[in-house]
Symmetry: C2
DNA sequence: TATCAATCTCGAAACGTTTCGCCAGCGTTG
DNA sequence: CAACGCTGGCGAAACGTTTCGAGATTGATA
């Protein structure tokens, strides 16, 4: 197996190393291309002798099959799109990690797209993914009001996670936001809190409306009236959380004694605002947020959170998507949503309501 | 332009929607495939009349060129690999966001790979990226001691960022870790601190050794002796930071009065350990860390950090990589590193050293 | 020894693009 | 009027695989 002479001959004028193809391997091993392919894929029997020759040739040439060609021929790219609203929200990197790992286990790669909370960009991402003919996509959508009906006719399988569209047919896997929100609120009510503020970002999100419903249900369930104007939407980022909290605390008599945030970044700002208003947590105010990033455990005080089972979401979503891809019948007759449970992890930031 | 009949004819038995190809467009517009390609790519003149026909046909069939085939033919995939050691470290998602954005602007997609701090996995990722024939990769390596010499002969262009190998030829773009570390340490020394602890993760990392050098240089520069056994390596994660700090604080007389952490997660644990040891920040201990994630600004107290110019790193790294790809001469004759400046953002966590 | 089945092997046709070279048409020019 | 250059268009050959159908080899059976 002497490959250097061969290499020299093939090297282009530009000095760029030669791309070794299946042809080269076949030539060196003195077999047909088909045979090489057969030993690579192992789905067709090849004699011991030739297998050995091919193996040796592949090793000598450091041959690595070109996935592009393979993909074009077989129709499967073994790539999956992952489109998320904002990598900067710590929930998503952790999700990404799990999804990437799950995908890797099933021998798939992940093409990441950040929508930057912009429906337009999200759409562009999805179109690009389709153009690349990835096998399918996992998406946490930016806005539940947008329509994804155009995906189906294209035969482009998508499964949603955590956030899914309000209308149309789709498959989704999500934590039970309503139940989680219910439990968190109930936890606070049982501590005697009544003036419980609720910060959410975009209300046009399946997760937002479910969480809102859970929050309201908890009050109804406890037979306690909901405080007016404590449900605040469109709070964005740490600064948004800070501003909203400052505003709420302007009037000390009407200030909240507890707060539930729809994501961890909001809480960061809100907590600071509370401190700056002279409030101490949990003595004067209790704090809870969705998601459970590392810092919540180490924050003073450690934050009570709602932790999503990210690994499970990832594995389940991937399973669903792959099944849909295999089945080759991407057109959906009806919507299905699978629910997973959040865990309320109680730490130091929640306690009894202050006595007036 | 009646396409429905055509669609019906093409629809397969499996109910899967037909894939419309350039052939279909050509047929419908009654021109050759070459002409369709010409109007798509616009690099060959096509008459007004035909252009119009082709446009109409494409619209009617909702034709979207297959990137796979395009890629195979042209040799450019317009995909870039991004391999990072750990998405869970907040530095990387932010980096990722910038890189993805920069790539998008230049009409490229990003294939994300998380090495999970494992050199083996990193290597597998790189091999997979090559197999997919992405145009190149941006990598923050897991360990500077591993060799990446095998990439060059493959003609696979890679540029390193923030962490690069100790040996071999490579291109890198990095913040000036040494200078940053020097400034941070100097900042502390000027506050009168002498017992300044330094936590780092893997010492076999270019960034680690540079930061260590900066730390040491600051003492030398100030003519102050370095405290013994305050330079602690292999501190991993928040728990690692916690443990290391607890250990250092065991003996109150010998405890540090300041701490510099190589990443933000370490600081999280260390800060908690300090609190639990009865230390108050910044009165009893000053804290600084590299990277500047949102929470540092909202933590009580707000953390003094070293902020990397992530956007600039991303843009510059991308530029370098694309240039390397264009130039089609991936074999490197020598190494080049470009340095960017960190910014020391001073907040509440650093102050005068306690008087004994 | 002829026949047959069971293996293995191979050439060639896809997959969906881009691009190269050639040709037809046509107005200019000597 | 012949020769020529230009323009726009087309067929066909790539790109690097997989896969299909058919041919070649072998060993066993009648």
């Amino acid at each position: 197996m002497e490959e250097s002479a061969y290499f020299m001959a093939k090297r282009g004028a530009d000095g760029r190393p030669p791309r070794v193809t299946i042809q080269d391997v076949a030539r060196l091993a003195d077999v047909s291309v088909a045979t090489v392919s057969a030993v690579i894929n192992g789905n067709v029997p090849v004699s011991e002798k030739r297998t050995e020759r091919v193996r040796a040739a592949m090793a000598a040439l450091r041959y690595q099959p070109d996935e592009r060609a393979r993909t074009l021929r077989t129709g499967r790219s073994r790539m999956l799109g992952l489109v998320i609203p904002d990598v900067t929200n710590p929930f998503y990197p952790e999700m990404l990690r799990e999804i990437e790992h799950a995908a890797r286990v099933r021998d798939h790669s992940v093409l990441l797209c950040d929508s930057n909370n912009d429906p337009e960009q999200e759409r562009r991402h999805l179109e690009a993914l389709y153009a690349r003919r990835v096998d399918g996509a996992l998406v946490a959508c930016v806005d539940s009001k947008v329509s994804y009906d155009w995906l189906d006719p294209l035969g482009f399988p998508v499964v949603f996670f955590e956030r899914y569209p309000f209308s149309g047919h789709y498959q989704a896997i999500s934590t039970d936001h309503r139940a989680a929100s219910f439990h968190a609120t109930k936890h606070l009510i049982q501590f005697g809190h009544r003036r419980i503020a609720f910060f959410l970002t975009n209300p046009d999100l399946s997760s937002s409306s479910e969480r809102t419903a859970g929050y309201q249900a908890a009050f109804a369930d406890a037979g306690v009236p909901m405080p007016p104007s404590m449900l605040i939407a469109h709070v964005e980022g740490a600064q948004g959380g800070y501003n909203a909290m400052r505003r709420l605390c302007a009037n000390p008599e009407k200030r909240p004694t507890a707060l539930l945030c729809t994501n961890s970044v909001l809480l960061l700002g809100a907590a600071r605002a509370a401190r700056e208003s002279g409030l101490q947590c949990p003595r004067d105010i209790s704090l809870i947020c969705f998601d459970n990033p590392v810092w919540t455990e180490h924050f003073p005080p450690a934050i009570t959170t709602l932790a999503q089972p990210k690994g499970e979401i990832a594995r389940r979503a991937l399973e669903l998507l792959l099944a849909r891809i295999e089945k080759k019948a991407p057109t959906l007759e009806e919507s299905t949503i699978e629910w997973l449970k959040d865990e309320l992890v109680v730490r130091e930031s929640t306690g009894p309501a202050p006595t007036p």
